[in-house]
C-alpha cells in the first residue's frame, strides 16, 4: 500500500513539475494520471497493490469534495447576488450535457459492451 501511494504521489509530482516547467494549461494531476495510464497500458498487467489502493481511494471519492464544497460559505455574497444565473447555468448545462453525451454515445456505440 505504501509503495502504491508513493507511486501515485510520484506521478502527481512529475505531472506538477511538467505542468510548471512548460507552463501548460493542463493541471499537474491530469498529466500524472496520463503518465500512469501510459505506463499501465504499456505493461501487460496492472500491479495488484496499486489496483487495490486506487480502489480504496476512489471508493471514498465523494468525501474528498466536501472541503471545497464548504467553500460556499466564503462566497455567500456572490451566490446571493447571482444565484439565479449560477443555479440556472448549472442545472441547464448539466441536463444538456448529460443528454448530448449519452445520446451520441448510445447512437454511435449502441449496446456493444452491455452484457454486465
Amino acid at each position: 500500500m505504501l509503495i502504491a501511494i508513493t507511486q501515485l504521489l510520484f506521478c502527481q509530482l512529475v505531472g506538477e513539475v511538467i505542468a510548471r516547467a512548460f507552463d501548460l494549461a493542463i493541471p499537474g494531476p491530469v498529466i500524472g494520471m496520463t503518465l500512469l495510464l501510459i505506463t499501465l497500458l504499456y505493461r501487460q498487467s496492472i500491479p495488484h497493490n496499486l489496483e487495490s489502493t486506487a480502489e480504496g481511494i476512489l471508493s471514498h471519492l465523494s468525501l474528498l469534495f466536501v472541503p471545497a464544497g464548504v467553500g460556499v460559505v466564503a462566497h455567500l455574497t456572490i451566490l446571493g447576488n447571482e444565484w439565479q444565473a449560477i443555479v440556472g447555468s448549472l442545472v441547464g448545462s448539466t441536463i444538456v450535457t448529460v443528454l448530448v453525451t449519452g445520446w451520441i454515445l448510445q447512437r454511435l456505440h449502441g449496446g456493444a459492451n452491455n452484457e454486465s
Binding site: 476512489l58 466536501v66 472541503p67 440556472g88 441547464g92 451520441i104 456505440h109
Partner: protein, 243 residues
C-alpha cells in the same frame, strides 16, 4: 465548566484535528442518511455534509479559511485520487476492443456542450464576467476545474463550489434525464454521468452498475484532459469575438 474553556476553544478552532474530524463526521452522517433513505439521489452525502458543516461554521463563527486550513488534508487527496483514475481507465481500455471513435466524439461534444451551455446560460441571466469564467469548467473534477479557472481569470474557489453543485445536480437529475431520453445502454449512461458530473456523478454511477461506473471513471479522466485543452482555446476565440 473548565475555567480555561476559552483557551481550549482557541486551540480547537485553529487545529487541523477539529476540521478533519468535523469533515469526516459530517460525511459519515450524510452517507448514513443517504443509505437509510434507500439511496435517494436528493439526499446526496456530499450535499448533506456541506450543509451540516456550513451551519456548524456559521453558528460557531469559525471562518471558512480557518476550517479549510485543517480540512485541506482531505482536499489534498484529490490530487492522488485524480492520478488513481488511471487504474479503472487502464482496466477498461485493456478490455475494450472497439468503439474508441464513438467515445472520442461523444467526449468532445460533451465537453464543449458543458462549457458553452454554462457560459451561454450565465450570460443570458446576466452573471458578472468573473462568475461566467468561474462557471465554464464546472463539469470537470475539482483540481482540474480550479486550475482551468485560474488560467482564464475566474475565481478558483467559486469554481470549486460550482463543480460540487454540478456534481450534486448531475447525481440527482442525471438518472431521470437519461430515463426520459431513453438512453438505456450502461456505457452511455455512465459516460454521460462522468462527463457532465465528474466524481460525484461517477460515485452515483458506480452504485448503479459496474459497467456504468467504469465508463464514468473513464469519462472523468478523459473529460479533464479534453476540457483543460478545449477551454483555453474557446476562451481565446471568445475574447477575439467580443473584442
Amino acid at each position: 465548566m473548565n475555567p480555561d474553556f476559552g483557551e481550549v476553544w482557541v486551540y480547537l478552532s485553529a487545529s487541523p484535528l477539529t476540521a478533519l474530524t468535523i469533515t469526516l463526521v459530517a460525511y459519515l452522517l450524510g452517507d448514513w442518511i443517504y443509505q437509510k433513505s434507500g439511496r435517494m439521489p436528493v439526499l446526496n452525502p456530499v450535499l448533506i455534509a456541506v450543509i451540516v458543516i456550513t451551519i456548524g461554521l456559521t453558528v460557531t463563527g469559525i471562518d471558512y479559511w480557518t476550517y479549510f486550513e485543517g480540512a485541506q488534508f482531505v482536499h489534498f487527496l484529490l490530487g492522488p485520487a485524480t492520478v488513481a483514475l488511471a487504474i479503472p481507465v487502464a482496466r477498461l481500455l485493456k478490455t475494450m476492443r472497439s468503439g474508441y471513435g464513438a467515445l472520442a466524439i461523444s467526449l468532445i461534444a460533451g465537453s464543449a456542450t458543458a462549457a458553452i451551455s454554462a457560459v451561454f446560460i450565465a450570460e443570458i441571466l446576466q452573471a458578472s464576467e468573473q462568475t461566467v469564467l468561474s462557471l465554464a469548467p464546472k463539469s470537470v473534477t475539482t483540481p482540474i476545474a480550479m486550475g482551468i479557472a485560474e488560467r482564464i481569470g475566474g475565481l478558483p474557489s467559486l469554481t470549486a463550489v460550482c463543480v460540487i453543485m454540478t456534481g450534486i445536480i448531475g447525481a440527482m437529475l442525471g438518472p431521470y434525464v437519461l430515463n426520459a431520453a431513453r438512453i438505456t445502454s450502461w456505457d452511455a449512461r455512465g459516460f454521460a454521468m462522468g462527463v457532465a458530473a465528474h466524481g460525484i456523478g461517477t460515485a452515483r454511477a458506480i452504485q448503479i452498475n459496474k459497467n456504468a461506473g467504469a465508463f464514468a471513471s473513464l469519462a472523468i479522466g478523459l473529460n479533464g484532459l479534453a476540457t483543460a485543452t478545449l477551454i483555453p482555446i474557446l476562451y481565446a476565440v471568445w475574447q477575439w469575438w467580443s473584442a
